[in-house]
């Protein structure tokens, strides 16, 4: 037997003939913070309730510290495993202190009153979650977030080796969300086993040592966050297109949803960008279903990163290097094939003046006119400015909205429209 504190083997749960969970295996050891993720209705809450013995599984079994959880006497079980439910409403005005002391129930015999130690522990836990001073307030009058923090403190008052949290931060702002997951991490560092269901995948990746992804009641993936949070897995389970990228500041993974695409409409657009000047237009045109190509952009530029992650064919050049004639030729083929080429408003210097040569070779060209709130088009050399004047002389100068309108009018020939407008 492994040294896991909590073990689930082949756990299943069905309501009538409808399977809610099928064949779930899970080992959670001391010191681990395991996140259960998955779409709504994937069976997260059911799994958590089975793990802490509130539900008896229809098949399989759960062991807590080597003993089958259903066979443990209830109070003794409640001294080893605590559960924080999503349910935070209160019908009656109990004081916060009363609610916290309920966590001592499994530790007290009938007629045994709470001791000063119990009260002291309750007060310390309230101060730990940052709500000291609310002891005498009515629990029912607190905000949803405060109620969640109080219930979290209550599970701490219960003082158990295993802690199970069901969506502990569902009504918390990001500050309190960070706080509650940091505290969960701390619980794990105190050598307890912590399991939590999480909706926010970024949060799950940031705090959990291990993730279990549930899909319609079975484990779709399990392991370290980077093993589970993969686009191919997430796309299948959630039925959307996702983008997983490391957060540049925290280093943890963020999962974003790629906007839904209207289906390719046929307009082929080539975007000449750089320095992030094409990001907004790329996103919008992608959503509209245009067939896009991009270039020439420097590697690690945000335009380049977006094009790569959306799978848009593009021509790139090494970071901080000069665009070569070969690259211009390569990109010119794309610009020739496109119905329309858009020259975005990026700063022009010696490194990227090749983009202007590229623009000169486009089949139909539109030049983006930066609006008053956008960064103005700047030039670092007189040569670049002259080149731009030459290129833009034979093209329409359009604002962002005008470009979109032009392309949306689309399939009946954006090129003609460009000429008409020009």
């Amino acid at each position: 037997m492994s040294n896991a504190l909590l073990q689930a083997r082949g756990v299943g749960w069905r309501v009538g003939a409808l399977p809610i969970l099928t064949d779930v295996d899970l080992d959670v050891g001391r010191g681990e913070l395991v996140g259960i993720i998955g779409p709504n209705g994937a069976g997260k809450t059911t799994l958590l309730r089975i793990l802490c013995g509130l539900l008896r599984p229809s098949s399989g079994a759960v062991w807590l510290d080597g003993r089958e959880i259903g066979t443990i006497e209830r109070r003794s079980r409640a001294r080893s495993i605590a559960f924080m439910s999503q349910e935070t409403s209160a019908s009656f005005p109990f004081r916060v202190m009363d609610v916290l002391l309920m966590g001592r129930y499994p530790h007290l015999r009938r007629f045994e009153p709470e001791t000063a130690d119990d009260r002291d522990r309750a007060r310390r836990m309230l101060s730990y979650v940052g709500l000291l001073g609310l002891e005498e307030r009515s629990f029912a009058e607190l905000s949803g977030g405060e109620r969640q923090l109080v219930l979290f403190a209550k599970t701490l008052v219960q003082d158990t080796d295993a802690v199970i949290l069901d969506e502990p931060s569902s009504s918390l702002d990001i500050r309190h969300q960070d706080r509650i997951f940091s505290m969960a991490q701390e619980l794990a560092r105190e050598n307890r086993a912590v399991i939590t269901s999480v909706h926010n995948l970024g949060v799950a990746a940031q705090y959990c040592s291990r993730l279990v992804l549930l899909d319609r009641g079975s484990v779709a993936a399990a392991g370290r966050p980077e093993q589970v949070l993969r686009t191919d897995i997430l796309d299948r389970v959630y039925g959307i297109r996702t983008l997983v990228s490391p957060n540049p500041v925290t280093g943890s993974m963020t999962v974003s949803v790629i906007p839904w695409r209207a289906g390719v409409t046929g307009s082929r657009i080539h975007l000449i960008g750089g320095a992030g000047s094409a990001v907004n237009l790329t996103r919008e045109l992608y959503r509209l279903g245009c067939e896009l190509s991009g270039g020439i952009a420097h590697e690690y530029d945000s335009d380049e990163k977006l094009w790569k992650s959306l799978g848009i064919p593009c021509v790139t050049v090494g970071a901080f290097s000069r665009i070569t004639d070969e690259q211009v030729t390569e990109a010119a083929a794309m610009a020739q094939a496109a119905d329309l080429t858009v020259l975005c408003a990026f700063p022009v210097g010696p490194g990227n003046s090749g983009n202007l040569h590229l623009a000169a070779r486009a089949r139909r060209l539109v030049v983006m006119d930066p609006g008053p709130e956008d960064a103005p088009r700047t030039f670092f050399s007189e040569e670049g400015r002259a080149l731009f004047e030459k290129v833009s002389a034979r093209a329409a100068l359009l604002r962002y909205e005008e470009v979109l309108k032009l392309i949306e009018r689309g399939s009946d020939g954006p090129g003609d429209a460009a000429e008409r407008d020009g």
Partner: protein
Amino acid sequence: MRLVPCRAAVKRRTVLTFIVLPVLLVAALLAAVGIGAVRVAPASLIRFLLHEIGFHSVALPDSRDITILLLLRLPRVLAAMLVGSGLAVCGVVMQGLFRNPMASPDVLGISAGSSLGAVVSIATGLASRSLLTLPACTIAGAFLSAACIYLLSTSRGTTSLLFIIIAGMAISSLFSGLTSALLLFSREYEVSQFIFWTMGGLDGRGWQHLLFSAPVLVPGMITLSFFARELDLLSLGEEGALSLGMHVERMKRLLLGLTAVITGVAIAVAGPVGFVGLLVPHLMRFIVGSGHRTLVPASALGGALFLVLCDLLGRSIAPPYEIRVGIITAILGSPYLLSLIVRIQRRGARGAA
């Protein structure tokens, strides 16, 4: 409006409640035995009691007064106290059990079940065999409706506030309907019972009623008060109680069974007196807070006081006629129920339901 004042204030209020309520209760008892169709000096009872326990220097009141006191007034007032506290305690327990501020023996149909039991026992002639058959039948009726409510409330995972209430109303009207139907076929001399088993009253309650009810009601209420901590946990959510290691279903069956017995006996004494079980717990919760350790005894005292006063009011509004205590509680209780519904509606909008 702050429903829970600060702790010191609650403590002070709680202590005060447990001093003031007993004092008021004794005062109400003395007043209630004195006031009636024949006025007896309130001191008469004290004089009689002092004389009986050995202060022979205290003059006995005249024998007519003693008869009125001992045979008519005192058992009636004591019955009011017992029934009042029994129903109020049942109200507290049911509200905690179902996490529902609108639960009470009458709202959930337990009272109607008891009444049906009583009417069945009268119509079948069982009641005339022994004094104990009627209470046995009211308890059986109470159990029947309690079982219905229990099954309905556990058949769905989580029960909403309104579900229980609507189920209770349905059970209540079913049993009241059956009661009325039975009475249609009853002989004429039984029809006078009709009024009694639809609204309850305390007229003509004597020592024989106390003899069978007190040995059930007093220990029953004391037993319920032992489960204060469990009631606290249940009123904060069954899932929480379950995860803290409570045998939730076993506890619910036990508590509901006890309330059925207490309600059944209380109703065998006074008929289905309404609103005590709804109104008193709320008033007490307002004063001493939601913790059942103080709420249960406070409701017992409050219920006793409330029913004695209601009965007194009914007897003194238009003497020599008596307005039944059930009418008085209904008149006082209905507006309160309405205000409660309005308040819960408002809170429902905040998602607390």
